[in-house]
Symmetry: C2
DNA sequence: TAAATAGTGTCTCTAAGACATTATTTG
DNA sequence: CAAATAATGTCTTAGAGACACTATTTA
């Protein structure tokens, strides 16, 4: 029984997922293949499944309380060549900046892998059934992004509305109409202004932050383009 | 590691959940308390978690393919006095008619327990953390009922639109406006007429059945009363 | 002043809410 | 006909889509 994590962030205009490389040791399955981070429950240290997920998240990224929700359980006879196994998978969204990756025990290396636009995973086959799990995580993320504020948890503390809209568009791989987007975000009371602006080469943009980082906001309708 | 089930149906104008009674044997925790049905994975017979859930569902109710989805995993040190344990919980919706309950091994008795209107569970404390699990199941059900066709899976094969609307109202514990309800159901292509009517004392009602019992329909908006 | 991005305004459209009205049965 | 439930119609409203327009900066 293990707990695995699907950790997403937004980097260089792309959604990315954290992968670790399986150790290159005899008797280990999927040697040197990339996999989702995770590992066994420590029944001494972990009071429950969520605590176990938080511990592993902290070990990999140093972060204590990002957005975290349960994704689901995968279990069966064939997912691990060593026999019947079960994993409980959690799903995390991290701000893009200031994360220091740590490979940790039982991982040869660690990296961010881009989810290419429209793709349903990374460009390679992952260890175990992790390809399938990643697909489920992407499906959950994209589904919820239609009617929640989840993309805001992929951004740094302060962001402009254009950056937030861009995050939605990257996750959904489609354009969103600007006016409708801003009305929705404002009406929901999702963000509050901070007294700063982002200055690039053009008109500066107002910076905002989430009013409440502890829970997402649910919108009354989904985005849905006229066909 | 166990798999447990939250099995709902609609009976006598109430949402009901299937409970089993814990055996009255020494060394068994929660003797004679009521609990959600479930049990250990049989690594010989069960290929994966879903197969295990389907097997247990069939053992209890005789049904093979009702609506079934994963609810989540609960695991921790304290949920079972015997030590760290994990359960994967599935969530089923059954037609109300023609179910023959079977207590099966490790259960002294089995019964349907009503979810009283507006209540967040049955009126008694369940074994283990099953009270909490049932609350989560009700929350999931009520949440999804706002924008899916789930209540149709609680009804017998053929039903009238009034009965379907009643199922929504019972799950949500609130009235729904009739005209909007029917427009929504019709526009979604959720049901099809069968050439029969339900005759009671008044104007007979057209009978319908689901066009597709294999998957729920998602509506474009939630129900939401003007405050 | 041109280019670029930020931000707003106007009109339309979809689907739900409110509520009235008509339809069809039995007693 | 009255009573009861089934079924439909009309008007309003919230919030999204389309698209044009204005605002503010730098080069």
């Amino acid at each position: 029984m293990t707990v695995d994590l699907v950790i997403f962030t937004m980097q260089d205009e792309a959604l990315s997922v954290l992968l670790v490389q399986r150790p290159d040791m005899q008797d280990e399955p999927y040697r040197r293949a990339w996999a989702l981070p995770g590992g066994y429950i420590d029944v001494e240290r972990d009071g429950d499944l969520l605590a176990c997920a938080k511990r592993k998240l902290k070990e990999k990224t140093g972060l204590v309380s990002p957005y975290l929700e349960q994704l689901g359980g995968w279990g069966g006879r064939k997912r691990d060549p060593r026999g019947w196994s079960v994993t409980q998978v959690y799903f995390a969204l991290l701000p893009s900046a200031g994360i220091e990756l740590r490979a940790g025990a039982n991982a040869a290396a660690v990296r961010w892998a881009r989810i290419e636009d429209g793709a349903n995973g990374v460009g390679e086959r992952l260890a175990f059934d992790h390809t399938e799990i990643l697909e489920a995580a992407l499906e959950r993320l994209r589904g919820k992004v239609e009617y929640t504020s989840l993309p805001a948890f992929l951004l740094p503390e302060e962001f402009t509305l254009s950056e937030l809209q861009r995050a939605y568009e990257i996750v959904l791989s489609r354009a969103i109409e600007k006016s409708a987007f801003r009305t929705r975000v404002n009406d929901a009371g999702l963000v509050e202004k901070v007294p700063r602006q982002r200055r690039t080469g053009n008109r500066p943009a107002q910076l905002y932050r989430l009013k409440d980082r502890s829970a997402p906001v649910y919108f009354p309708r989904t985005f849905s383009p006229r066909s």
